[in-house]
């Protein structure tokens, strides 16, 4: 199936779409049922194998599917509301999980019956993710997990968590990690909201106190957790910034709208607005170019370029929009009451909240500094830093 021609692939997709719409008319069908049927017809992740929610065709047909569903009045809300699962987890499962595991998890993930979250970062392991300390010790057919994770989106509403743990502290840090799927409703899991500078708690801290995970929930080999986690992160970085958005949308759209609505005319700010517009458009064109070049669907280093560029632009432009607001920028119309939203971020935040929220763009999903290391070393081939944490047991590496 993988070597059918583009036309044949398109035909297959269109035929399945027709069946989907015929048998489960969008708008008239319950979302969950619709998504289930979509999964069964191989339209959940078209590039996945048949039987696993896919058709084995090029991933670029997914956009065709999504557009068609939206045009037909159906919903693709699951992709946003279960983003960590559908956007990042699923690809990890396809690459590293067993058939049984895939069959167990993929369908209810796609139908939103089970929400997913990601448990990677820790207070002591941010940029240096591989330095994480949450331990998992084997006891028969189970693993006992202890430790703390942070920056976990929707932990309080999730059924499953993708967790990386340290199963061997006596080997160098990358070698001692193992990846599991943890039941977030298990005993010993506690979730606390983590309020951020906007006043919202998109994220949580998650504590693990003697939490039992059956060994059948292990993804990949014992000690192979790092490469599994990397698969998840690569999917994340591509998701951020690499998508080709319409011209003038997003942060620059808010800046331009502010300029127009307020009839501004200062020539110095006009030039600055134009500079930002140019930077945004250059980033957009570059994402389009990278996406054209990336026919195969394997996320490569372009993900890091786009993510870096997008994060820095978003910070700069949302900040500039506040400058355009002038005295109105002194206000915070959203209010600072601490709240815990039910989705990842807000899709169209106020200018003020967008400005604050953007501060995290260059931190989450890999800091801009880490992105530059990746670009410098993996794309340009520059040598790495001298490593003081290499080839020594994890437990002997200085930490804070």
């Amino acid at each position: 199936m993988a070597d059918t021609s583009t036309d044949q692939q398109r035909e297959l997709v269109d035929e399945r779409l027709e069946r989907l719409f015929d048998e489960h008319p969008p708008g008239e069908t319950d979302d969950q049922e619709f998504w289930g049927a979509q999964y069964d017809l191989g339209l959940a992740w078209v590039q996945f194998p048949e039987g696993k929610g896919g058709l084995g065709v090029s991933p670029r047909f997914q956009k065709r599917v999504n557009d068609a569903i939206e045009d037909a009045g159906g919903s693709i809300e699951n992709r946003y509301r279960n983003l960590l699962g559908i956007g990042m987890g699923a690809g990890t499962l396809i690459a590293h999980a067993t058939e049984e595991q895939q069959d167990r998890w993929l369908r209810p993930m796609f139908t939103m019956e089970e929400l997913w979250c990601q448990l990677f970062s820790e207070p002591g392991a941010g940029s240096d993710l591989a330095g994480l300390a949450t331990s998992a010790e084997r006891e028969g057919d189970e693993w006992i997990v202890n430790g703390q994770k942070v920056w976990t989106t929707l932990a309080h509403r999730s059924k499953w968590g993708m967790i990386v743990t340290r199963t061997d502290p006596d080997v160098p840090k990358h070698a001692g990690l193992t990846y599991f799927i943890v039941d977030m409703e298990a005993d010993g899991v506690s979730v606390r909201p983590l309020y951020q500078i906007t006043g919202e708690a998109e994220f949580n801290e998650v504590y693990f106190d003697d939490v039992h995970i059956p060994d059948e929930n292990r993804i990949g080999e014992v000690g192979a957790g790092w490469s599994v986690a990397m698969a998840t992160l690569m999917n994340e970085r591509v998701a951020i910034g690499a998508s080709v958005v319409p011209r003038g949308s997003g942060a620059i759209g808010q800046a331009v709208a502010t300029w127009n609505e307020r009839d501004l005319d200062d020539p110095v700010k006009r030039d600055e607005l134009t500079r930002h517009w140019i930077a945004a458009e250059a980033q957009r064109l570059t994402a389009a170019r990278a996406s054209e070049a990336r026919q195969k669907g394997t996320p490569g280093p372009e993900g890091s370029t786009a993510k870096l560029q997008w994060a820095e632009l978003n910070k700069a432009i949302t900040s500039f929009t506040m400058d355009l607001l002038g005295e109105e920028g002194l206000l915070y119309p959203d209010g600072y009451e601490l709240v815990r939203p039910d989705e990842t971020g807000t899709r169209t935040p106020s200018r003020h909240k967008a400005f604050l929220r953007a501060r995290a763009n260059s931190i989450e999903g890999g800091t801009s500094e880490i992105m530059k290391n990746i670009l410098g070393e993996r794309v340009l081939g520059l040598p790495g830093e001298p490593r003081v944490d290499k080839n020594i047991p994890w437990k002997e590496v200085p930490r804070s």
Partner: protein, 365 residues
């Protein structure tokens, strides 16, 4: 004007006392407590600093002040900025008192300034908060005020408003009590919770005219005094976020090393050091130009300091979050309090583009 920066022994002692006092009495927990209140400050702390003479600092002795000057006041403001001290100091003691000093009759000064200096009366100003003002959203007709001012600093807790109003022959300054008939005050949520704002509507409010001269220059004097105050406040805050970033970079370890040992962090801190030191030079120099009553030098030094310090503080506060990583984005960490202060202070009393245009005019560009 020859630049000069050396502090006298007395000034150094003032700075050290202020820093100690604020560290003890206005630490981060106290700031978070005060900023969560409606008034936004603590009356008892306000009285304590009055006893130390802070409100009186730059008010002339003949008006009940301490007879020190703008340089001493700037020293206090730098420390207030460093600790995000919550108090209506800028609105009452800098903006309000300067407007009164510049415009009011002797009788009015005698009535108002000793009370301001003693911390017993709080003024604020209502009008367009920028360097180049030629009209006001408030108009005066038959001695009564009409109109609305969107941004009045501490408008919900001031006792009296100094209002810039458009009259028949140009701009006038008027005084009105906050509880006068025909005033509606609505507090608004400010981005920077440590400086409260209100919207004030005048609807036929009776007012007393301050002095009788055209008010543009008095208003301008108030805004410029405010600009110097903010520049000094900004460098205090900028130094604080630099200190926070450096401390964190020394202790936080990733990859088995303190993150400050990576050039990505180290060089950023070094650049901030250069920026903050430069910003201080401009803020101190502006205070001295204002204190020395050198109008030509003020035309240069004030917009220079105001625009430069705004940008340095904004950059430093943003970098501080980035250097902290995730923890710097949390509500519980103080980084955001400074970040919000930095951004909103930049937008208060005119933004850098406007002040640079003023400077360009002064330099004949």
């Amino acid at each position: 004007m020859q630049p000069s920066f050396t502090l006298t022994e007395e000034q150094t002692a003032l700075r050290d006392t202020a820093r100690r006092f604020l560290r003890d009495k206005s630490g981060t927990e106290k700031v978070r407590e005060d900023m969560a209140t409606a008034s936004g400050f603590d009356e008892s702390l306000w009285k304590e600093i009055a006893q130390m003479g802070w409100q009186a600092m730059a008010i002339p002795e003949e008006h009940g002040g301490a007879g020190y000057g703008v340089v001493e006041q700037a020293i206090l403001l730098e420390e207030m900025g460093r600790f995000l001290f919550c108090a209506p100091y800028l609105s009452s003691v800098v903006l309000g008192a300067t407007a009164v000093l510049s415009a009011a009759t002797d009788d009015q000064k005698a009535e108002l300034l000793p009370a301001v200096a003693a911390g017993e009366l709080r003024l604020t100003v209502a009008g367009p908060l920028g360097p180049d003002v030629d009209s006001s959203p408030v108009r005066v007709e038959g001695g009564a005020l009409h109109g609305e001012v969107d941004t009045v600093i501490d408008g919900h807790t001031a006792d009296r408003f100094v209002v810039l109003a458009s009259g028949e022959d140009g701009l006038e300054l008027h005084l009105t009590a906050a509880d006068a008939d025909g005033i509606e005050t609505e507090q608004v949520t400010s981005l920077d919770q440590t400086r409260k704002l209100a919207r004030v509507r005048f609807d036929g409010t009776a007012a007393e005219r301050l002095g009788d001269a055209e008010a543009g220059s008095a208003w301008r004097a108030a805004i410029r005094a405010g600009a110097v105050a903010l520049a000094n406040e900004q460098v205090g805050g900028a130094q604080q976020v630099l200190d926070m970033a450096v401390d964190y970079a020394k202790t936080r370890k990733q990859f088995g090393r303190a993150i400050g040992s990576f050039q990505a962090i180290k060089h950023r801190c070094a650049e901030l050091l250069v920026d903050v030191e430069s910003a201080k030079s401009t803020a101190y120099h502006a205070a001295r130009a204002l204190a020395a009553d050198e109008p030509d030098e003020q035309d240069i030094a004030i917009p220079l300091a105001r625009s430069y310090c705004s940008e340095v503080y904004e950059r430093a506060a943003a970098e501080n979050i980035q250097i902290h990583g995730g923890i710097g984005f949390t509500w519980e960490h103080d980084a955001h309090l400074y970040f919000k202060r930095a951004k909103s202070t930049k937008l208060l009393l005119g933004d850098p583009v406007g002040w640079r245009a003023d400077l360009a005019d002064a330099l004949g560009f």
